[in-house]
């Protein structure tokens, strides 16, 4: 114990000098009047509106001002924090909170760019579904309380029922379908988040035993494990939209392509996004979603607080608020956002549960039962190598 105390004294937890997540009353008191710059992808009108609503609510309840910094790429915020560290700006950086996932989180955590641990001390953590949902690991990397979850995502395929009669059951079915319907399917270009997710989804679905993906890739395993993926893509690519000579930049960029009839099938990481897009005139009302028979990849969206945020208390207040039943129920409403909740319904009281029961999931949204069990994300090391290889094979192949 003596050694621990010495260690604690030596460890430069400067962050804790000004705010301790465990003392929630002190956090709330300090948050009052602070401004939080939440760096979050700004490509979706629905998400932007939701964040604006969060801003109104935390301003009413806690006197916290929330500014949405609309990113095109989460890595921009990582770059910003890194530049600040280089420049010695350790106390009041430009980024107070980041919507973050996967490789960006792993990179920031490795480089000691994050504040924490704080997530499991937040009061609303009590409602979070720790057992049923992947809220304590991010792409198999333990979060260790350095990021808090706020939305669940799972891969679904969006298809236009005007052109496809019935859901397709597996990745091989999708391959056969593209052969019969060339040019009617595509996926975002890796290293886009959803583009790499598509590659992972292929791999998880066609491997006889996908559990090899749960441990880090090695030089010995990598080639053997990924060989079926490249064989699959070699067959698929000539029948993609534009013969794979061009790819859409992001997932939502495929909505107008479906609406125009350029493609009939696309992939999405948000089970409610299609319904929300239909309500927003972005998709025709004939679009529905399906998952594969063996299940599809699922994960959580997180927020993290950089080590040099000047508004850590207020950032924790916002992180806590977006895990509240009120915010989670609003996020799940497909007319507004359509994101899956991170909460455990059994942990809620009757009033809060009623908020969720009242939500109409929308025409294109599968019920939790229909979504089935989410398949775990592979270790990030697979993705990095697969994305690199993809770029060499298809990304620069004219």
């Amino acid at each position: 114990m003596k050694y621990l105390a010495v260690l604690a004294a030596l460890t430069p937890f400067a962050a804790y000098a000004d705010v301790d997540p465990a003392d929630w009353d002190a956090v709330i008191a300090e948050a009052d009047g602070q401004t939080v710059y939440w760096n979050a992808w700004g490509g979706s009108t629905n998400t932007n509106d939701f964040i604006a609503w969060v801003g109104e609510r935390v301003s009413e309840d806690y006197g916290v001002t929330l500014e949405h910094v609309k990113l095109t790429d989460t890595a921009d915020a990582v770059t910003r924090v890194l530049s600040e560290k280089q420049a010695g700006e350790n106390d009041d950086g430009a980024v107070d909170m980041i919507w973050i996932n996967g490789a960006n989180f792993a990179a920031m955590k490795d480089a000691d760019l994050l504040f924490g641990p704080y997530a499991e001390q937040l009061p609303n953590w009590a409602f979070v579904d720790v057992d049923g949902k992947t809220v304590q690991t991010d792409f198999t990397v333990p979060t260790d309380g350095y990021e808090s979850p706020w939305a669940m995502a799972q891969v679904v395929f969006d298809y236009d029922t005007a052109d496809i009669d019935a859901p397709l059951a597996s990745m091989n079915d999708i391959l056969e379908w593209t052969k019969a319907n060339p040019g009617r399917f595509t996926y975002p270009q890796p290293p886009d988040f959803l583009g790499t997710t598509f590659l992972k989804q292929v791999l998880v679905d066609i491997l006889p035993d996908p559990s090899v993906l749960q441990v880090a890739a090695t030089d010995e395993t990598y080639d053997d494990v990924t060989a079926p993926l490249w064989a699959y893509l070699d067959e698929l690519t000539p029948n993609l939209w534009r013969e794979g000579r061009a790819y859409p930049p992001t997932g939502t960029a495929m909505f107008p392509m479906i609406a125009d009839g350029e493609i009939d099938l696309s992939i999405s990481f948000s089970p409610g996004a299609a319904s929300a897009a239909i309500a927003n005139f972005e998709l025709p009302d004939t679009v529905r979603t399906f998952v594969l028979e063996k299940g599809t990849i699922g994960n959580a969206s997180f927020v993290a607080i950089p080590y040099n945020s000047g508004s850590k208390a207020a950032s924790m207040v916002v992180a806590n608020f977006i895990m509240s039943p009120e915010a989670q129920a609003r996020a799940q409403n497909p007319d507004l956002l359509g994101y899956g909740t991170v909460l455990n319904m059994d942990a809620l009281d009757a009033d809060d549960r009623a908020l969720f029961d009242a939500i109409e999931l929308g025409v294109a949204t599968l019920s939790p039962a229909e979504l089935g069990t989410a398949v775990a994300e592979p270790h990030p090391s697979w993705m990095t190598r697969i994305a690199d290889d993809w770029a060499g094979r298809y990304g620069v192949a004219q």
């Binding site: 710059y37 009108t45 910094v69 430009a94 490789a103 792993a106 480089a111 939209w241 000579r245 620069v396």
Partner: protein
Amino acid sequence: MKSRRFLPILPALTLLAMLGPVLAGLYGTVLPAFGHLPAAGETGPNLNAFRALFDWPGLADAARLSVTTGLLATAISLLIVMLITAGWSGTPAFRALERLLSPLLSVPHAAAAFGLAFLIAPSGWIARLFSPWLTGWDRPPDLLIVQDEWGLALTLGMITKEVPFLLLMTLAALGQADAARSVTIAQALGYSRMTGWLKTVFPRVYAQIKLPIYVVLAYAMSVVDVAVILGPNTPPTLSVQIVKWMSDPDLAMRLQAAAAALVQLGLVIGVLAFWWCGEKVVAALGRRWIAAGGRGRADRVISGIAMVLGTTSALMILLGITILATWSFAAQWSFPNALPDTFTLRSWMRHGPGTTDALIETAIIAITTTFIAITLTIGCLEAECRYNLKFGKIGTWLLYLPLLIPQIAFLPGLQTLFLNVGASVGRWPVIAAHLIFVLPYVFLSLADPFRAWDPRMGTIAAALGSSPDRILWRIRLPMLLRPILTAMAVGIAVSVGQYLATLLIGGGRVATLTTEALALASGGDRRAIGAYGLMQTGAALVPFALALLIPTLVWRNRKGLRHG
């Protein structure tokens, strides 16, 4: 006198305001390119980043794309502008085209590119107008038109934007080239209008618009936003790939990006040198052509084609803006309907408050930046003529350095600099960063007309007892009202269109119409893109309308001051 103490240091101050940041930013690029980036655990020097870059299989194609699209866009734009001016200057048709094209210069590149994409894509407006009754298409054909691997859509996008720019630069130069009398004399000697213009006026005009052409060439080679929207992506142009590497979560990729930024810089320098050699060849051939004495009676067809091309490029932008507007009011709109199934105000009600906030921020930054830029520019030019404090050839090149170096090569380094000197993120650092890009354009627009002003006017005024300050305020500036206002409009348009500088230096906290529009762009919500693109266009368009309108109003009773 105040100006005597202050004026002589202005040229030095101006160069410092631009060069300091660029050099510091470049320094911040050279270090990681040679393996020194302590934050990523790398301490060089070594050549690993260049090795990794040359191992990247897309390098040859990405570099080739930068070169071909840049050269093609510049050459074709220049050709169109010169042939139109040669064949039509002084005619009512030319004045009509001038009125049409000049304001289009203000349309931000990104907005014009979106408009063009909505227009020419297989599911775009042109296809919708002719489907299915003519084409038989019930759904869009699977054709790679936008993002084609040759970069033709990208080249087309750059041409539609650079034709107005070069035409405006040409118009500013024409006033000083004594074009009308030269053409009259040539025509009296039996030369056709076009041949006469090309043989007598073109060499003088070209000498004046040389730097703008180099800027267009460098810009077209390294543009990011237009290339993201219209350019190929397997692989993209080199500059787009640099941005991608720059934002890779793997910090080691930043070294490769820095190395690629230096390669991009080398490409730009190489192509500029190539163009310069081309000038010598054309000049030699041209002298022979002039000496041969051909009267060129058969050039009516060429000038006709040039007019059609110029008008088409103007129409592309206009139709693009129209379709942005249409999308912003569209509810459901399915292919192949030429118009939305229903119209709605919902997108505007949704995005109205956001666009208004962004518009105010955009206007504050653009107006402040442009005011500083025009003050420094006039100060420098006046110092030049009073004290003979000329920038000289090297100085002028230094002034244009920020436009000839790819932005991505020095902006991240600049961001670190601002942090090091303790400048907090926000509006003022962004204004300072915009100034780096706005100032050269303003200078570029104003320098030639300012220098070409007849000094005998000043001599006469001085003989009548006027001080140098009085000559500046009462004679020179009023006579140059049109070019000054044009230069300011250019400055505002440049500031409105800045993306990387606003995002990186503002720490993402400064939300202008451009940063908001590009953030939305990645998501593909065409209604939101329409609303923001339209507001962005408006923000840059109004100053141009004023630049055209104000001289006409102010000098309505002084015919000699109404240029053109």
